[in-house]
């Protein structure tokens, strides 16, 4: 029991990993002893982590006790896009000043290059990861704590949806040019074009453009 830091937060991340890797499957009750042993901790920190993930919309409480990986309806997936389209313009607008600094521009470009590479490799998972990184970085740059906190939940929910492929298999190659366009608008500081660019980018996952 010689822990320098608490276990609940790291365990939260590891549960997410297990979902992403398919160890924890949707709609199936999570067996606490099994998972806690696999993670090398007791059920106490595991359950605390599960509470966090519950309120982040990753897990959901079952009718008669226990939890499972949340199952998303089509409507709930649509809601994810709608909320992103509403919140991200606020964050990106706030991120514009920080994007005047070169180190931040370089970091954003690096993420874009990461995606280009994934596109070349036809690595769908890599593309999705780079996509999320792009938005996470801008939200962090925005300094908006509230949207950052909401995003931390949205991000995980999206990862589950992507993983389970409940969502229409979008042509992810179209995401890269959208990011390029968005970056240019942000670097330029063209706030008027922002809303349209973001909405155009966030939504097509559901309604793929022609």
């Amino acid at each position: 029991m010689s822990e320098l830091a608490e276990l609940a937060h790291p365990v939260t991340d590891r549960i997410v990993d297990m979902i992403a890797s398919g160890s924890l499957v949707r709609a199936e009750r999570i067996k606490e002893v099994e998972v806690s042993e696999k993670l090398g901790v007791s059920r106490i920190p595991l359950r605390e982590a599960m509470r966090t993930l519950e309120s982040q919309g990753v897990l959901e409480a079952r009718e008669r006790g226990g939890m499972n990986v949340r199952a998303f309806t089509a409507a709930q997936i649509q809601e994810l896009s709608d909320v992103r389209a509403a919140l991200e313009p606020i964050a990106m607008r706030a991120a514009v000043p920080a994007l005047q600094e070169k180190p931040n521009r370089i970091a954003l470009n690096a993420i874009i290059e990461e995606m280009k590479w994934a596109v070349e490799q036809r690595d769908r998972r890599g593309i999705a990861a780079a996509d999320i990184d792009f938005h996470s970085f801008l939200i962090e740059l925005s300094g908006n704590d509230l949207i950052g906190n909401i995003w931390s939940g949205l991000r995980l929910q999206m990862q589950i949806v992507f993983r389970l492929e409940l969502c229409v298999p979008t042509n992810l190659e179209h995401v890269a040019p959208k990011h390029l366009a968005l970056r240019d608008v942000l670097f330029r500081g063209d706030l008027d074009g922002l809303e349209a660019s973001i909405a155009d980018h966030v939504r097509p996952e559901i309604r793929p453009s022609t």
Copy 2:
């Protein structure tokens, strides 16, 4: 130990009550044994509830262990309004169909009457409570699970901010007529007027109108 339901969820509500009533004070470490004994439970369900409230933005982890009631900066309070102004139009738009049904109209009117009464009594806390009820009801009617979930956290954060009166003491009497106007727009189904009405209503808490 003969409990029919789990304790963590009810304990979550009771912690919120303790914050609202001033038993738990901002920026002060929450003593788990003290609170758990007061609530008549052990530290286990208390800590699970605290994890939930942590990710809802009500509590925050301290540097070296433990948690306290979250302290809000002025910027974070502004963020609350911004996010509300972005999300509530989506929910209210979705609530319009449900507001064609008489029972829902009656219920909404009842909440408005509740606020009128609080205004007459000059009961600031009552006004604030009715205000939150108004928005909670519409969000629930919208059927948007995601915004409902986000709102459950926002609502608690706002209650803390109101309680601590970090926020500019708005002339709460102005809230009632705004609700009336919003109701009329919603009943009419005048979607174009929605965004403006909501933004006008949600924001003045920070920038009080003349």
